[in-house]
């Protein structure tokens, strides 16, 4: 049994950047948003690496990354991501900011997935992050799943184990640092990934060269996908200014610090 694994994921500002909200005619945005270095969203990255791992274990499978973001930024990020694992890219040219409405984004992504040439729903596994480092709502993937009428969804996934008959076992995060274990009869299904268990793959120039032959044309024919803030009215958008007065304790002995800590921990 093979799968067509479609990964939904976009770009986010590099986590090391300082973010400052600004007002724009299109709604809230980030100061110098176009200038901020971008990376593939970390959760989407986990989903992509897990997809490639699953595809490698199930012969005949393939991975398609569907990404909605500013074309120029996508190109920069894909230069790096394409070195990691094999995939085909479908790019949609639109804003990737956190203040866009998940429902509008989901509608664009669902349409792009439906339009994938030769898409076989009986092989479709829709992957993505269960969160993101931008909007972080954790709903886009579910909405796309509903729009595609996929009956089975899993969120906070850390592991998938496919079986020869096409069924698979999924571990989903639940409360208390545990996993719920489920068995699904098979595709189609939606899997929103937490961090998974795989490290980031090392760069592989051969994979990079093969990917880039497809990535560049995909970027060139990226369809415009304008998305906005929907019916959301933002009453305020701000960085919290709370700074604590930190007491620096430099010359205390471990005994003194330990006593203070135990007293603090024990106090209700």
């Amino acid at each position: 049994m093979s799968f067509h694994i479609v990964v939904l994921g976009s770009i986010v500002p590099d986590p090391l950047q300082t973010l400052e909200p600004v007002s724009t005619p299109q709604g809230p945005g980030l100061k110098n948003e176009q200038m901020l270095p971008a990376v593939l969203d970390p959760w989407a990255g986990h989903a992509l690496y897990e997809a490639a791992n699953l595809a490698a274990k199930t012969p005949g499978s393939k991975v398609t990354l569907v990404s909605l973001g500013p074309k120029a930024k996508l190109q920069q990020v894909m230069m790096a991501v394409a070195q990691k694992v094999p995939f085909e890219l479908v790019a949609l040219d639109g804003p990737a900011g956190g203040f866009t409405d998940a429902h509008e984004v989901a509608a664009r992504l669902a349409a792009a997935v439906k339009a994938l040439p030769g898409l076989d729903r009986t092989k479709l596994l829709l992957f993505g992050g269960w969160e993101s480092a931008s909007r972080g709502a954790g709903v886009t993937l579910q909405l796309v799943g509903e729009l595609l009428e996929i009956p089975d969804q899993f969120q906070g996934v850390d592991q998938i184990s496919a079986r020869p008959d096409g069924s698979f076992e999924v571990l989903e995060r639940v409360e208390g640092g545990r996993h719920q274990v489920s068995t699904c009869q098979g595709a189609p299904a939606v899997l929103g990934w937490a961090t998974g268990n795989l490290p980031e793959p090392k760069n592989n120039p051969q994979i990079g060269m093969a990917n880039m032959r497809l990535v560049m044309p995909a970027l060139q024919k990226a369809a415009p996908a304008p998305v906005g803030t929907g019916g959301v009215e933002f009453a305020s958008v701000q960085v919290p200014k709370v700074m604590r007065e930190t007491r620096i304790v430099k010359d205390a002995s471990p005994d003194e610090i330990a006593r203070e800590l135990v007293e603090w921990i024990s106090k209700d």
């Binding site: 986010v12 500002p13 986590p15 973010l19 956190g98 998940a102 429902h103 480092a133 931008s134 909007r135 709502a137 954790g138 709903v139 909405l143 509903e146 729009l147 009956p151 089975d152 969804q153 969120q155 850390d158 076992e169 639940v174 409360e175 208390g176 640092g177 545990r178 996993h179 719920q180 274990v181 489920s182 068995t183 009869q185 937490a194 961090t195 795989l198 980031e200 929907g230 019916g231 959301v232 933002f234 009453a235 305020s236 958008v237 960085v239 919290p240 604590r244 930190t246 007491r247 620096i248 304790v249 471990p254 005994d255 610090i257 330990a258 800590l261 135990v262 603090w264 921990i265 024990s266």
Partner: protein
Amino acid sequence: MDSILLVSHVDPDGALPRAALEALAAARTLGAPVTAALFGHSVGKAAAALAGTGVAKVLVVEDPALEAARYSTDAAAAAALAKASGASLVLAPATSRMTRVMAGVAQRLGGRIDTHVTQLVDEGGPTAVRWYYRQRIEAKLRRKERPWVLLVDPGATEALKPAGGAAPPVEKVALALPAPRTQVTGVRSPSSGEQTIRPDAKVLFVAGAGWTKKQQDGKPHPEEAEALILAFLRGSGASLGSSKSLVDQAGEGQKVFEFMTHLNQVGQTGSTPRHAKGLATCCHGEEPHVVGWRFIRERRAVNLDASCGWARGKADVLYVADAFAVMTKVNALLAAKK
């Protein structure tokens, strides 16, 4: 005025989740009457627990197939309840079970959803407070579209304390659940052996990558670090969080603690837990100090860098000291107290 529905699953033992009472408290701040909706294999106990909470009535879907937390059946039940209520605002606690389904439910209702709500206020209409960009930017927002589904984060609001008395009237909603393609086969703890994630703990202990680095003698001491951290968790009942750099070491083949998994990670790609107190040790970076403990009320840190820019301004107290020496003494004091 909006009509409000609070929808929740019941726990496996039939009880009402604490997070549901928190979401109910958030709903009550809006001033409109609240209807509750519960689904599960047996909801009588949870419905009775709503006595004295001001809930006007309780809609229920009860079915043996709803014992398991599964998308297809849970989404069908929650959507049927929301449709039956006709509510324009649908609130739910952000448990893993409700988080899995409510976006799909919003889509089925033709509505819109916003999640990770930390506060609801009435400012010219229902207004939700939530964070963007991993707890870095806070926004207040309203929506024109209805129904508006809102997932309220656990731990953000004090749970409503039921006053007791007569239970609200219960109304059953008929529903034929779809035949599931997924079977839930159980719950598994991480292979690390020791359960170190304790959401109800008073203290969050955050371990950074410094625990596995070279110490004063020029050598790393991961076994000693492991023993110290475990002893502290056992002695204090704290929950364990970790920086990304530490949990990532496992994937890079370096020595990492047996009990540490990605589930422990707090910060950018980890969790943002809610505990009354947080103690960060050997951490240097934004993730544990800014993102990871955004919702930790009292914060202290132990590390060797007096000018650590991430702890300064973020922690209440920064102890400049060797965490190995300090935690050895802390553990001895905790053991003596017992």
